[in-house]
Amino acid sequence: MAIKFSNTFLLRKLHQLTGVVPLGAFFFVHMYTNSAAMNGARSFNKHVQDIHDMPYLIFIEVFGIFIPLLFHSIYGVLISAEARANAVNYSYGRNWFYIFQRVTGIFLFFFLLFHILNLRFGLIPGLESFGNPVAGNGGRAFDIVATEFKHIAILIFYIFGVIATAWHLAYGFWLFAVDWGIVIGEKAQKIGLYASIGLAAFLSAVGINAAISFVDPCGLFPASFCEAAEKNKIIEPEAPRKF
C-alpha cells in the first residue's frame, strides 16, 4: 500500500510521541530526583550532582528536553486553539477530559516557562534564584529551592504545576494509546482510563510530597519514615579538598 502522509498527520503523531517518550520519561526521572529531597539536602544535592555529571549532558538536555518541549508546547497551543468546547451541552466525561487536556496544556505552557526561567536559568528578577539557578550549583541545589519555596505563593504555584503535569501526562498516555490505535475496544479504553486516573493521582502525590519536603523534612510523611535513609548514609559531607 502506498499511502501519502500529510503534514498534519506527521505533526500530530510527533506531538503525541514527544509527549510520551522524551517528556513523559523525563517527568518520571524528575519526580524521582525531587523525591530525594525527602531525605534532606545532602541526598537531594547528590542526585542533582549526579545529573550534572552525566556524559553528553548538553545534548541530552537540548535534544531530549528543550527541543521536544518547545515543539510539544507550541504545537499543543495551536491544537488547543482549534477546539470548539461544548461540554456544557454535551456533558460526557471524556468531553470534559478533552477540555482539561487543553486547559492543563495552556496552564503548563506558562508554568513551565516560569519554572525553567526560574530554576534552570535563574532569570526571574526579584527572586533569590536570580543569577543563581539550580543548574550548575549542584552543591547548593536544595537551599536554592528551599529559599524559593519559602514564598507560599511560589510553593502553591509549583504544586498546581505538578498536579497539572501529572494529569496532562497520565491522560496523555491514554490519548496516545487510543489515538495510535493500540487500545481500541470500549472495555479496554475504560480500564485504561481508570489506570490513567490512578497514575495521575500517584504522580501528583509524589510530586506534592517532594515539593513539601523542601520546607518540611520528609514532606507529608512522619520524619521517622526518612530517618533510616539518613542513618544509613555512607558518604560523608564533602570537605574542601586541599592539595
Binding site: S6, T8, K13, R94
Partner: protein, 267 residues
C-alpha cells in the same frame, strides 16, 4: 430475578404545564442575521417537536402577538431513519421527529423548548441546513464499491457472520450529521469527521470494496482527513443509530499508524 420486578415503567410527565413555549432560531436566508422568536402552544399529550412545529405553522403568531412567517424545517420519514429533520433541541443535537415534548420537559423541568439549526452546516433558512458537505466527504473517502465492468463478475465472495454483523452496524448511518454537530474538533473543514470514517470502514470491510482500500485511506490521510480527531468521543454518545464510530476511527488509526511506522521498511 423476577421479570415482573425488573420491568421499569417509563417515567412520565406527571404535572404538565398548561402551555409550552417554543423558542425558535429564525433566519430569512443564508447570510442573513439570525434572531429568536417564541411561540406558545397549549399542552397536549404525545406531542413531538415536528407536530408542534406543524401547529405553529398553521398560525405563526409569536407570544408578543406579532404575525410572522411560518418556520421552515426539513422532514421526511418521521420515524428516525432518514435523518433529515435533525436539529439542536435544548442545546443538544437529535432528530426532531423522535423528540417527544413530554420527555424534553421532563428532562429540563421547564415549560420552554429551544429549537435551533445545526451550527456546523450552512443555514439556509430557519431550521433548515445544507448537509451536502457530508456527501462531499463520502466522495473523498470513495464510499462506494466498484461493480461496473465489461463482463459479469458473478456472485461476490461469502462474508462471515461476524463481518456481516459489524458491517450492518456501520450501514445504519443515515448521514444525519449528529456526530459532526457534537464533535468539538469538527468545523472549518480541518477534520473529515466520524461519519465518513465509519463509511470508509464499511466499504473497506466488503470483499469487493476492499480493493479500493488505498483510495479510502488516502482520502482520510490529507490535512483535512482523520488526523485532527480529538478523542472527546461525543460522536458515539450522540449517534441516534448507535454506530460504533470510535471503533471505526481507532481501527482506521491503527491501519494508518502501522503503515506509517513500518510501511517504509517494505521499500
Amino acid at each position: 430475578m423476577n421479570p415482573a420486578n425488573s420491568h421499569h415503567e417509563k417515567k412520565r410527565l406527571e404535572n404538565p404545564p398548561k402551555s409550552i413555549k417554543f423558542k425558535i432560531q429564525r433566519r430569512e436566508k443564508e447570510g442573513a442575521n439570525a434572531y429568536w422568536e417564541t411561540f406558545e402552544l397549549p399542552y397536549r399529550r404525545n406531542l413531538n417537536v415536528i407536530s408542534a412545529l406543524m401547529d405553529i405553522r398553521k398560525n405563526p403568531v409569536t407570544v408578543e402577538g406579532k404575525q410572522t412567517t411560518p418556520p421552515v424545517w426539513d422532514m421526511s420519514c418521521l420515524e428516525q431513519v432518514c435523518g433529515i429533520c435533525t436539529m439542536v433541541i435544548d442545546g443538544r443535537v437529535r432528530q426532531s421527529c423522535s423528540a417527544l415534548i413530554d420527555d424534553i420537559l421532563l428532562e429540563s423541568g421547564g415549560d420552554t423548548v429551544s429549537l435551533a439549526p445545526m451550527s456546523k452546516f450552512p443555514n439556509i433558512r430557519d431550521l433548515k441546513v445544507d448537509r451536502s458537505q457530508m456527501f462531499e466527504h463520502l466522495k473523498q473517502v470513495h464510499a462506494w464499491i466498484e461493480l461496473d465492468g465489461t463482463y459479469d463478475l458473478g456472485p461476490g465472495p461469502a462474508i462471515s457472520n461476524e463481518t456481516a454483523q459489524e458491517r450492518y452496524a456501520y450501514s445504519r448511518c443515515m448521514t444525519c450529521g449528529c456526530c459532526l454537530e457534537a464533535c468539538p474538533q469538527y468545523g472549518d473543514d480541518n477534520y473529515i469527521g466520524p461519519q465518513a470514517i465509519a463509511q470508509a470502514k464499511l466499504f473497506n470491510m466488503h470483499p469487493v470494496g476492499k480493493t479500493n482500500t488505498e483510495d479510502r485511506l488516502n482520502g482520510l490521510m490529507g490535512d483535512d482527513g482523520i488526523t485532527a480527531c480529538g478523542n472527546a468521543q461525543n460522536c458515539v454518545q450522540v449517534c441516534p443509530m448507535s454506530i460504533p464510530l470510535t471503533r471505526a476511527i481507532y481501527e482506521t488509526n491503527r491501519d494508518i499508524t502501522v503503515n506509517a511506522l513500518f510501511g517504509w521498511l517494505k521499500k
